[in-house]
């Protein structure tokens, strides 16, 4: 199987990821923060090590401001629902994934108004379009760093500065960029960073996190035991405990620690560059297929490592099925949980086929995928 579905979840993982998750389950899978016996301390130290590695990756000065979640969606939900109140305006783009769109809409029942920022034809937000939508009631701007459909990278640093200058909270959804595009929460003026552990960070599924800048007041999405301030009926005020009610996914976090270590050693730029090179080669090879439309930016440097295509008169799911059954290639077809993006590109009825390589894919595999796509479309 040639796995080109890293936009959904990365595969394979570096061998150290599964090794550490297994080591955890075999030797130190105690409940972290619920005791001070040696095994519990070892578990807590592993979690802290992972926070420190994530902090190094995202240039976070205070690792304790990173709370673990089960995925990026949960992190976004905490950020939105833990901060916004009735009367607030929320700005999102017209390319957002359902992980932002759905909780944003759900907040309308609490009096939060969601406003859409327009994107250009490549699906990218411009700072000017953000400025146009800001109102006196704008409390938060929540944007994807890159689209999971078009692959275009948003200029978060410029937008972050716009938000910071106006005292607007800026949350970035790094689902498609954490681990493959440099992120610096200080320089990018990011107040909240939501990220998955199982995509570009190469960790196991069931992991993710939320960075919350010092000074941002946030309510937890769930209350429960934290192993701290147990005499109080309220959740602790301090992070990460405030947002981590209940036992965390220790084996997953242990594996994630090794995924992040792999990235820190290899380098985010190098990984992103490899994936972009694969996509540029793929786009070049399929560019002569008639009736085929490539979504997102034409310039390979402006996009993350994914390529979504639409073939006129051909169903996306049928193409993906043929790639799987006849060629052993795993891709994703459909709306990619992003109906807003599909509507933006005008493909809501047919969807698209997404090829998303990862760090372990090769040019030869992209060559094979391009040839396979050509053959399917010509038969």
């Amino acid at each position: 199987m040639i796995y080109l579905d890293n936009g959904a979840t990365s595969f394979p993982k570096p061998p150290a990821v599964s090794r550490e998750a297994e080591r955890c389950l075999l030797y130190y899978a105690a409940n972290a923060g619920r005791g001070a016996h040696r095994m519990s301390v070892t578990a807590a130290e592993k979690i802290w090590e992972t926070r420190e590695r994530l902090a190094a990756l995202f240039h976070v000065k205070t690792p304790e401001r990173i709370a673990f979640t089960q995925n990026c969606t949960e992190a976004i939900n905490i950020g939105l629902k833990g901060i916004l109140r009735g009367g607030d305006d929320l700005l999102i783009s017209e390319m957002e994934h359902n992980s932002v769109y759905r909780p944003g809409l759900a907040l309308s029942g609490r009096g939060v108004k969601t406003l859409m920022i327009r994107c250009d034809e490549e699906g990218v937000v411009s700072p000017a379009s953000v400025l146009r939508e800001i109102t006196p009631r704008t409390r938060m701007i929540c944007l994807q760093h890159a689209s999971n459909v078009g692959g275009g990278i948003n200029p978060i640093r410029e937008i972050g500065r716009i938000a910071r200058e106006r005292n607007i909270i800026f949350m970035v959804d790094a689902a498609q960029t954490a681990g493959t595009v440099p992120i610096d929460v200080e320089a990018d003026c990011i107040d909240l960073l939501a990220f998955p552990g199982h995509k570009g960070l190469l960790g196991p599924q069931g992991t993710g996190g939320l960075y919350v800048r010092e000074g941002i007041s946030i309510k937890p999405l769930r209350e429960g035991g934290t192993g701290s301030a147990s005499e109080s009926a309220d959740m602790p005020e301090f992070l990460p405990d405030r947002l981590e009610g209940g036992t965390v996914n220790l084996p997953g976090i242990a594996g994630l620690s090794e995924g992040v270590r792999f990235i820190l050693e290899k380098g985010v730029e190098k990984i992103g560059s490899h994936e972009r090179r694969l996509c540029e080669h793929f786009m070049h090879r399929i560019s002569d297929i008639p009736e085929l439309r490539i979504l997102g930016p034409v310039n390979g440097e402006s996009r993350v490592g994914l390529v979504s295509v639409v073939a006129k008169g051909k169903n996306a799911a049928e193409i993906a099925d043929a790639l799987d059954k006849k060629y052993g290639i795993a891709v994703r077809a459909g709306l990619h949980c992003a109906p807003l993006a599909a509507a933006h590109f005008g493909i809501l009825s047919e969807g698209s086929v997404r090829f998303s390589p990862g760090i372990f894919n090769s040019i030869e595999e992209m060559e094979y995928a391009a040839r396979a796509l050509g053959e399917i479309l010509h038969t």
């Binding site: 923060g33 001070a36 130290e45 802290w48 192993g227 301030a229 005499e231």
Partner: protein
């Protein structure tokens, strides 16, 4: 000396800060009634390092919940 902290995360942070400076430190479980705040986690340090530990904790924003003498010492 045993320094009480509010969470295991803070205990690890304090221990790492101290050991990074070459000060011997270990995380211990402590009886809540002996320290303010009902804390269950603490870091044990040599008496001579208490002042330094308190300064480092303050610098890192680690809230200390109390200090007591170590058992048997």
């Amino acid at each position: 000396m045993v320094i009480g902290v509010r969470s295991m995360t803070d205990a690890i942070r304090l221990k790492n800060l101290l050991t990074g400076k070459g000060i011997r430190a270990a995380i211990v479980q402590t009886a809540g009634e002996k320290l303010r705040g009902g804390c269950a986690y603490a870091v044990e340090v040599p008496s001579a390092a208490l002042g330094e530990a308190e300064r480092m904790a303050a610098g890192a924003g680690i809230m200390l919940l109390g200090v007591r003498r170590s058992e048997g010492g």
